[in-house]
Every structure is written in C-alpha cells, then in structure tokens.
Symmetry: C2
Subunit: 310 residues, 2 copies
C-alpha cells in the first residue's frame, strides 16, 4: 500500500448556479481531493485539516466509509467550521464570492499523523502557504512527489513571499490559467510554465476548466481536454477533484515518470467530469467503479488517434 | 490522384496585432485553404474564386507553384479585389473589423472548371451561402465529402434561410464555438452540435481557437488541442488553414470514416499551428515537409497516452 497525505480545507459551502442554489453543504478542498483519490486501489489516504464542533458526524462518516483516515482532522471544541459561499455567472466560468468565514481555519496548525510522516505522495490543497509549508517540514522521509494547489489570493502582498517559499519545495504545482499568468507575469502559458518551473516545481499543471488541462515538464507538454458535457451543473470542487485524481493515481501506481503523469492527468480530468454534474460532492458520493471505467473509455475515444507519420 | 475543389475568397488583407501591422497583403479563405491543402500528396486541387485586375501576378504564381489549379479563378477586368482590414485585441481571441470592401465579390458568380465537377472533396470556404450552394449544384457527381465553413454574419436575417438551404446539402460544417451557439440556440456545445446535425451535416466541427477543435458525429466526439505556442503572432487564416488541412487530408487519403476524420482534425490543427506564427500567409509559404512531420510528432506527444483501463 502506498500512502497519500492530503492537506486542505474541510468546509461548509453554499452555492448558487443558474440551475439552483443550496443551503450549507459539505465542501472544502481536502474533502473533494479525498473523495476523488478514494477511487484508486492500493492507496491509503489521510486528511490533515480542521473543522468546528458544528461539523456533522455524518459528513465525517462519508470519508471514513471510503477508507480516508481522519485522525489528522482536528475538531475544535466550540469552534465553527470554515464557510464559503459563492455564485456562478451564466457561463459557469466565473464566480463571485458572496461570503467567506474563516472561523477555525484562522488558527489552524496542521499536525501530520505519525504514520503519515513517510507518505509517498503529499497533496497540498489550497490553504495559507505557511500551513502548506509546515506540512512539508513535518515529513520525516522525502516524499516521492509533493503536489501543491494554490490560488490567486496568495499571489499578492502580504502572502506572495510565503507562497514562493513553499513553491520552492514542491514537485508539481496545479493552478488555473489566470493564476499562471498572475504568478509568472507572462500571458503565453508556455512561457508562464517556464517561469514558474524556475521557481521550483519541475512539473507545472495549468487547469483551464472546460478547456482542459496542460502539463509541462522541461520542453515536454501534455494536454487533456475536459470531457464535453451536455450540462455543467456546478463547477465547485472540479479543480480539487482533478487534483485528487492526479495525486491518487500517482500514489496508486507509485510511478512519478512523465509518462505516468500523463495518465494521472487523464484520470484527474475523468473524475472532475463527474464532479460538475451535480451540486457539491453529490455526484462523487454516488460514483461507481463501472461509471469511472466507462468514462475513461470515452476519454480514450475522445483523444486518441492513429495514423502513420508521413 | 484525388481531386479537391476549393471555393472561397482570394483577397487583400491589412492586419493589426499587438506585434505590429501590415499593409495590404495576400489573404482570403481560399488562399489559406489552398496553401494548407498543398501540403498533402496524392491530391489535385483547384480554387474557384474571383479577384480584380489589381491582383498581382506574383500572388497567383504562389498558388500555381504549389500545384493549385487557378483556371476557376476569375480575374475581373477593371475590377478591384476584395479587401478586409482588422485589428486584434491584446488577448488575440477577438478582433474588430476596420474595413470591408466587397468589390468584385459583390457580383461573384462561381464557375466550376469542367474537370473538377467530379471532385472527390469539395471545401466551401466562407462566402455568401447562395454562392456556396451554386457550387454544389454544379457538381456532376456526388462528392465523397462536402465541407462547409461559414460565419456568424450569415446566421442572421436576411441570410439565415439561404444558409439553412446549403447546410442541408453538406456533410461537414466547421464553425467556431460562438457561431455554433448562435446557429443552434444552445450554450452547451454537445447540445449545439446535436441541433446543427439535425439541420443536415452528419459531422459538426467546432473550432475553439487556442482551445482546440471538437468533432461530433452521432454520439461520438473527438477533440484535438491547439499546440501550445510561445507566441500567437497573427491568428488571421488559422481557421481556413485548419479547414484546408482537414479537407486536404481527407482528399489525400480518400477515406471519409470517422476514424480518419480524427486524423484529418489533427492534421488541420497541426497546420494551423504554423499559420499563426507569422503575419498572414508568410509562415505557410515557408513551410517544409520536415517541419510539418516533426510538429505532428509533437502533437502525438501532446495528446497520446497509454494505460490499461482498470
């Protein structure tokens, strides 16, 4: 068994899309990453995070039922869980944040469980860069792969220097196209990836939402499209589900070669294509092995061709 | 030898991008399609179009030198060539038309050369739908494949009915995402493709510029990305170069199966990736066979993966 350590938020979300709106539902980067990574065999995974006393036991059970270890998930007595609320525009590609209540996240001090300090893969979900850094520093053995997800919020003062510190210590960064441009100061994604790689990570993954995802490593590039869907119902968590699929597949195979990262990108995109079909985590919670493999076959049909080079 | 009949504008363009601007240079849909299709062996191609007496012999020579038959290219005595001028915005994804002078195009009456009335593949570049229709009606044998490119301008009154007439008679339509949405009234491209297929064409190609191209046929879909480039210098003609690569490859192979259309999409995307590297037709005119094959190999690296389905 290989070990995957996941760090990120476990949260309440309230979401509004053109298709409807939800009350507080289960959300958070670590939640989506964990549910996504749970689709792979040969992986033991654990979440390091924090919630308040208001967090329902049934949500915790959803994770443990899927063999996600939550011994590193701190429950703060009398504390309130992190809450995010957002509204998507009609094109589903942009959204407004309506409310953010950090609550227990404000004083979060992550503690990596003893038996995950030698994890093979570390997946750092979007969080304060110093929290991400603290997790890396607690590892007693150098992981095969450290993957970091982050966002534009940390790419400005006063956080940018902290972000640069953690970026220096990771192997793979996953960000969206707008963030890649912000972080690098380059509009061309090819140039942006090169600038970001010089900051530390050998592998740069640029997520383009409905336009797919790019993986860069030195002079090599790989691209996987998003599966064309009849309807995108709610994009919340798609990026984290992608990251969970990517890191879960790498942990499951134990292979960090560029060729295997291509496969990981495809598995990540495949899982993300389910996530957006319903509100929040709903679709990920009902996902079957057969659905996952049959959509992987669709991905193959969508992207693979065969002709002789002239 | 298979025959490819190309119909479309041969024109003067004046282009402005963030990288610079040009005086009147060689342009037009049929020009780009012809130069792109000229990269395939086993194809005889001919252009049906019209220019004025002001059109330089050296531009005509560029086509004939590449074995493009221009006996169907009418030169109107005393007439002036179609002129288009446009300016691209900083993101290169949108542009303003600064000037359009139809000139000889206003009274264009296409005449298909006798020896191309049995062409295997007909590529109808963007033009008035009734001009496109007139070409189809001149064919004495049903072509293996009729491909139509068009634009938003024809999707509104008073042209929409004419466009629907020609769409009914073709096999493949190539339009961009915005046009697919306009033509179908559907935002989701999957749904848009289905609606458009009901109008006539079995195959719907949706071009997404830097975000690649989608091919739909019944329940099947295929996607090819645009090659990630350091710099897009001038997008003019990229869509026509794509169409020329697509139709040229189909004509070259004589195979209209869905699997071969996937290959055609890849070849079209590959050739379009060169077109945008310089102003106008400049890059297409300097293109070597080796450059084309080596970039095809890059395309393969970019998109092909290999893992066993679980």
């Amino acid at each position: 068994m290989n070990k995957l350590l996941i760090v990120g938020t476990v949260a309440f979300d309230a979401i509004e899309t053109p298709f409807g709106k939800t009350d507080k539902i289960l959300g958070g980067a670590a939640t989506y990453i964990g549910l996504s990574a749970a689709n792979f065999s040969n992986v033991d995974s654990a979440i390091v995070s924090v919630v308040g006393e208001d967090f329902p036991q049934e949500y915790l059970d959803l994770l443990t039922k899927r063999n996600v270890d939550i011994s590193g998930l701190e429950i703060v007595k009398g504390g309130k869980t992190f809450f995010w609320s957002g509204k998507y525009h009609n094109d589903m590609n942009s959204r407004d944040t309506l409310d953010t209540q950090l609550n227990v996240l404000e004083t979060f001090n992550p503690v990596v469980p003893e038996n995950y300090k030698d994890a093979d893969v570390v997946m750092l979900g979007n969080l304060h860069p110093l929290v991400q850094l603290s997790v890396i520093e607690q590892m007693t053995e150098k992981p095969k792969l450290v993957v970091l997800d982050t966002m534009n919020f940390w790419m400005e003062a006063p956080f940018m220097d902290d972000l640069k510190k953690v970026i220096k210590k990771i192997d793979v960064i996953t960000i969206n196209d707008e963030e890649a441009r912000l972080l690098s100061g380059e509009y061309s994604l090819v140039k942006a990836a090169r600038v970001i790689a010089e900051m530390g990570p050998k592998y740069v993954v640029i997520k383009k939402g409905e336009h797919g995802a790019l993986l860069f490593n030195e002079d090599k590039a790989f691209f996987a499209p998003a599966l064309p869907l009849e309807e995108v119902f709610d994009p919340t968590g798609a990026g984290d589900t992608f990251a969970g699929g990517f890191s879960g597949y790498i942990a499951s195979t134990g292979d960090v070669s560029f060729n295997n990262m291509k496969n990981a990108i495809v598995h990540g995109s495949n899982l993300a294509s389910f996530c957006v079909e319903k509100f929040g985590t709903e679709r990920m919670l009902s996902l079957s092995k057969d659905e996952v493999s049959s959509r992987l076959a669709q991905f193959r049909e969508l992207t693979q061709f065969d002709f002789e080079l002239a």
